[in-house]
C-alpha cells in the first residue's frame, strides 16, 4: 500500500470580487494530477509559483477538501477520515507564519504537543529535544515576535516534528534559513528518512531537490508535467541542450527550466 495515493486529483477555488461578490471566478488550482509515494521515500513536488504545490499539500494534510479525485494518506481518505490520519502526520510550511508570535517558542511547542495529545510524561522532554535540534534552546522562553525570520521558521520546524510523524509534508521548509540552517534541516530530513519517515517536499531550490529526493514530480499550472528520479529527469534533456553542457554537468535546474519552458511550446 502506498503511503500517499493521489489519483486524478482536482481542486478548484471560486472567488468573488466586486460588490456582493458578483464577479465570480473559478481558479483551477490542481487539474487532475496522479502520483503515489511509498513508505520511506522522499518525494519532491516541484513547479513554478502558483503551480498548485501548496494546494496539493493542503489537501493531503486534511486542511482542504479535494474537489474531485482520490487523495489518500496511510490508506485513509483525507476528506472524511481525518481522524485516522491527523495524529500520524505533520507538516511544515515555509515562512514565519503558522506559530503564535506572542508566545514563547516553548509555549508554542507545548501547546501543539497538547493538541497532538502527547503524553505529559514525554512532552517536556520532547519539547527540549526539539528546541535543541533547531538550536533555539537559549531563546526558548522569549516571545517568537522577537525572533528573526529564520528563527521563527525553526520553531515551525520543531512544531512539525512534535508528534514524531510517520508522514511529513514540507512546503518550502528551507526558505529563510541561512545556509547552515538549511544544511542542518536537510540532515534532519535524511535522518528521518533513515528512520522510516515518508516525506513529501516542495522547494524552489533544485540543488536541494536533487540531493534529497528519490523521485520528483514537476507540475505546471495544476498539471503533472513529468515524474521520475532526478537522474531520469535530467536524462530527458533534449540533445539540443546537451551539446552546450557536458553530460555529467547537467543539473536538475537545467532540466527543470527546459521542461517547464519547453511545455509552453518554445
Amino acid at each position: 500500500m502506498a503511503v500517499i495515493e493521489v489519483k486524478d486529483l482536482v481542486r478548484d477555488f471560486t472567488t468573488g470580487d466586486g460588490l456582493f461578490n458578483r464577479n465570480k471566478r473559478t481558479i483551477n488550482a490542481v487539474k487532475g494530477i496522479s502520483f503515489h509515494v511509498e513508505k520511506g521515500e522522499i518525494f519532491g513536488l516541484l513547479g513554478q509559483n502558483g503551480a498548485g504545490k501548496t494546494t496539493t499539500i493542503k489537501m493531503l494534510i486534511t486542511m482542504l477538501a479535494p474537489t474531485s479525485g482520490t487523495c489518500r494518506v496511510l490508506g485513509y481518505d483525507v476528506f472524511g477520515q481525518e481522524k485516522q490520519i491527523r495524529h500520524r502526520i505533520n507538516f511544515i510550511f515555509g515562512g514565519e507564519y503558522g506559530i503564535y508570535r506572542r508566545l514563547s517558542a516553548r509555549d508554542n511547542l507545548k501547546y501543539f504537543a497538547n493538541l497532538y495529545k502527547i503524553d505529559k510524561n514525554i512532552r517536556d522532554k520532547r519539547v527540549d529535544e526539539l528546541l535543541e535540534l533547531v538550536e533555539l534552546s537559549d531563546r526558548a522562553d522569549t516571545r517568537v515576535e522577537t525572533f528573526s525570520k529564520g528563527m521563527a521558521q525553526r520553531v515551525q520546524i520543531a512544531r512539525g516534528l512534535i508528534n514524531n510523524p510517520e508522514v511529513l509534508f514540507l512546503d518550502e521548509p528551507t526558505i529563510g534559513l541561512d545556509p547552515l540552517g538549511a544544511e542542518n534541516l536537510r540532515e534532519v530530513i535524511r535522518k528521518l528518512q533513515a528512520g522510516g519517515t515518508t516525506i513529501l517536499l516542495t522547494t524552489h531550490n533544485m540543488y536541494e531537490a536533487d540531493e534529497l529526493c528519490g523521485r520528483i514530480a514537476i507540475i505546471k499550472q495544476g498539471e503533472l508535467l513529468t515524474l521520475g528520479t532526478p537522474q531520469e529527469i535530467k536524462s530527458r534533456l533534449t540533445p539540443r541542450r546537451v551539446v552546450e553542457v557536458a553530460r555529467d554537468e547537467i543539473t536538475l535546474e537545467d532540466a527543470y527550466i527546459q521542461l517547464v519552458k519547453g511545455s509552453d511550446g518554445q
Binding site: K58, M63, F91, Y100, L103
Partner: protein, 258 residues
C-alpha cells in the same frame, strides 16, 4: 483528561496572548469607560431604578458582550491572517474544544470589563444602589455569562465560513445590543423587531439580570424559562451546525488566507 487539557491550554494561552496585546488594554479599560459615560449621560435625568438597571448593568452587559463575542471573532480573524487557524484545525485535537477554550479565556477576561464598567458607573455617577435580591443577581449573572458563551460559540462557528469577519462584527455590534435590550427596553422597538429579540438568549438574560435589581418588569421565572429554552436551542443548533460548517470550511477554503 486529554480533552480537558486541550480546553485548558487553549484557554490559558489565549489569556496569555491577549495580555500581550496593546489593543486589548484599550478594549478592557477604555471601552467600558466610554460605554459607561455614553449611557450615563443619556440616562442622567431618568429615575434611579432605570439608572442602575440601564447604566450600571447596561454598560456592564454591553462590555461583557463586546469582549466575549468580539474577542472571539477577532481571534478567529487574527489567526486566519497568521495561518494558525488552519493549522490548529488540522491537528488531531477537536476544534470545538480549542474554540471553547479560547472562548472561556475571553470570558474570564471579559469579566474584568464587566466589573470595570460597573465600577466606573458607580464612581462617576454615584447612584443609590438598591438591589432587592443579591442572591438572584448572582445566579442571573452566571446565566448571562453562559448565554453569551453560547452565542459566542455560535458566532465563532459561523465566522469560520467567511473571511470577512471584521465586516460582520461591525455590522452586528450595535444592532445586537439594541435588539437584545442592553440599553433600553425592547418594548420601545417596533413589534415585528421584538419577535426577533425574543429569539436570542441575551434578551432574556438581560431581563433576568434586571429583575433582582428592580423587582419590576419580567419576574425571574418569566425570564428564566425563555432564557433556558433559547439557550438550549442555540446550543443544539451549534451542535448540529458543527459538522456541516467545518466540512464546508474545508470545501470553501476559508480557514486561511491563500
Amino acid at each position: 483528561m486529554k480533552s480537558a487539557s486541550v480546553i485548558w491550554t487553549s484557554m490559558t494561552l489565549q489569556m496569555k496572548q491577549t495580555f500581550a496585546r496593546n489593543m486589548f488594554k484599550f478594549t478592557l479599560f477604555v471601552g467600558p469607560l466610554l460605554t459607561t459615560i455614553v449611557l450615563g449621560e443619556m440616562f442622567r435625568f431618568s429615575g434611579a431604578d432605570s439608572f442602575v438597571a440601564y447604566v450600571v448593568l447596561g454598560s456592564g452587559i454591553w462590555s461583557l458582550w463586546n469582549s466575549i463575542a468580539f474577542s472571539s471573532a477577532g481571534d478567529i480573524n487574527r489567526e486566519r491572517f497568521t495561518n494558525t487557524l488552519s493549522i490548529i484545525f488540522s491537528t488531531p485535537a477537536d476544534f470545538r474544544k480549542i474554540l471553547l477554550g479560547k472562548i472561556f479565556g475571553n470570558t474570564i477576561l471579559s469579566m474584568g470589563s464587566f466589573f470595570l464598567s460597573v465600577f466606573f458607573a458607580i464612581i462617576l455617577y454615584r447612584p443609590t444602589i438598591y438591589v432587592a435580591n443579591w442572591g438572584l443577581l448572582f445566579v442571573a449573572l452566571i446565566l448571562t455569562i453562559a448565554a453569551f458563551i453560547i452565542m459566542s460559540i455560535f458566532i465563532a462557528y459561523l465566522l469560520t465560513l467567511s473571511r470577512k469577519t471584521t465586516i460582520w462584527m461591525n455590522c452586528l455590534e450595535v444592532p445586537f445590543a439594541l435588539l437584545c435590550g442592553f440599553v433600553f427596553p425592547i418594548e420601545n422597538l417596533p413589534q415585528v423587531v421584538q419577535y426577533f429579540s425574543w429569539a436570542f438568549p441575551p434578551t432574556w438574560a438581560v431581563r433576568l439580570l434586571r429583575y433582582p435589581v428592580t423587582e419590576t418588569g419580567y419576574t425571574f421565572t418569566e425570564a428564566l424559562i425563555p432564557l433556558l429554552i433559547t439557550m438550549a436551542v442555540f446550543a443544539l443548533l451549534a451542535g448540529f451546525l458543527y459538522k456541516a460548517i467545518f466540512k464546508q470550511a474545508k470545501v470553501l477554503g476559508t480557514l486561511d488566507m491563500a
